[in-house]
């Protein structure tokens, strides 16, 4: 009997200590989370704003770009599973450009999220990779922080670049890539091409008079 009680005392003690540690450290975590979360959300928002500004320049529009968007339902051309935002840039209430958020599902490691800025005539104004997990030093040159590669899409459109040309030079396309990583640029190029097709077939919905 004594042995039995002794055993349960040890278990009880262990459970008690574990619970106490759990409570203490989760309160510490909760405290820090509450303190840092507003700052983190704010900087994430600012980062997004910066990217939107990089995709199309400030001179061509004068509306509140961050808050003027339409929800785009899941579409195979944009590869979005949930509805995504399409930002509409207007000058004097006339649509001058849109920013589409598209996803390349076939990156070397996971999905690549890309913002594509397109003017009302279907020319690309700018593109930025928002989120990716490509290999550091190999495929991550699609990120503007690592190289300017992503700017090669500026001024391209479905008109001045044929379907055949929308691929890397290795595949008889028009776009340069860096040695060592072709899967990454291939998927980025494909995603941007599909975003342009989406734009072409949804111009009315985006508020552009054809």
């Amino acid at each position: 009997m004594n042995n039995f009680l002794q055993k349960y005392k040890i278990i009880g003690q262990a459970v008690f200590v574990m619970i106490m540690f759990g409570i203490i450290f989760s309160s510490i975590l909760g405290f820090f989370y509450n303190k840092t979360n507003p700052i983190i959300l704010k900087s994430e928002n600012e980062a997004k704003q910066r990217l939107l500004l990089q995709v199309i320049s400030k001179e061509i529009y004068n509306n509140d770009l961050i808050n003027s968007y339409i929800e785009i339902e899941p579409n195979p051309l944009l590869n979005n599973i949930t509805s995504t935002k399409g930002y509409i840039a207007k000058k004097n209430n006339e649509v001058v450009a849109v920013i589409l958020e598209t996803r390349a599902p076939d990156g070397y490691s996971g999905e690549i999220k890309i913002l594509v800025g397109i003017d009302k005539n279907g020319n690309i104004l700018g593109t930025r990779v928002v989120k990716h997990q490509e290999t550091p030093g190999l495929g991550d040159y699609i990120d503007i922080d690592k190289s300017n590669w992503i700017n090669i899409f500026n001024f391209t459109s479905l008109v001045n670049t044929s379907e055949q040309e929308w691929s890397v030079k290795k595949d008889q396309g028009k776009f340069d890539y860096m040695a060592g990583a072709t899967i990454t640029p291939r998927s980025v190029i494909k995603a941007i091409y599909k975003a342009l097709i989406f734009f072409k077939s949804n111009q009315l919905k985006l508020g552009i008079n054809v």
Partner: protein, 208 residues
């Protein structure tokens, strides 16, 4: 005690090259000096705080459940550091990415807590965490330097990711047109670099 910690951490028991603990970040992050040093410093901070937190409570932690409690403490500390870096040093957070949360799984932190802090008073534990962390940080810096120099022909590039735009030109460029030695940047380069480093240390040890 202090001197012992210095010698053990930096040379005799160096976590990166002798204990070979914490290889995951050692190999994955050391593509440049800046990346290596940043992760090294983050790990060092975690080790110092973890050691100095565990040491004073070592007597109230029941022996049978000490490992889960150590992991709980380390995980909480790393999360706090992760949140703080994200909130107050966003560029650094972007550069280190997923590797900060991964410090939790870095064996070296748990190993030092288990084998040192849970048996020693607070001050020696503090020294141990600091110098073990410093030892790892130095290995990461040297490995990062080797790989960056061979792989990209530069040193100290991307310093602006941590200290802001003012430091964007500090980077040393050794060659005008360097194609880059890709192997050094890829994971095998990390294994080879570490192997050379260990060989070098063994050679020096043998000579003495």
């Amino acid at each position: 005690m202090f001197k012992e910690s210095v010698i053990d951490g930096l040379w005799k028991q160096n976590p990166g090259t002798i204990q070979l603990l914490g290889l995951c970040p050692t190999l994955a992050v050391t593509t440049t000096v800046v990346n290596g040093v940043s992760l090294g410093l983050a790990t060092m901070i975690v080790m110092v705080i973890a050691n100095s937190t565990i040491s004073p409570i070592r007597k109230i932690v029941p022996d049978k459940i000490r490992v889960p409690i150590f992991i709980l403490v380390i995980a909480a500390l790393v999360t706090v550091i992760d949140l703080s870096i994200h909130a107050y040093a966003e560029p650094l957070y972007k550069a280190l990415g997923i590797f900060i949360p991964l410090i939790v799984t870095n064996c070296i932190v748990l190993a030092r807590v288990e084998s040192f802090a849970s048996k020693n008073p607070i001050l020696p534990s503090f020294y141990d965490g600091f110098f073990m962390g410093l030892g790892l940080c130095l290995v990461l810096a040297i490995l990062g330097g080797m790989r960056e120099f061979l792989g990209r022909g530069t040193l100290f590039s991307d310093l602006d990711l941590i200290f802001g735009q003012a430091f964007s030109n500090v980077s040393l460029n050794f060659f005008d047109q360097y194609e880059g030695f890709l192997l050094a940047v890829l994971p095998p380069g990390a294994f080879l670099g570490l192997a050379f480093l260990i060989a070098l240390m063994n050679w020096i040890d043998q000579k003495n």
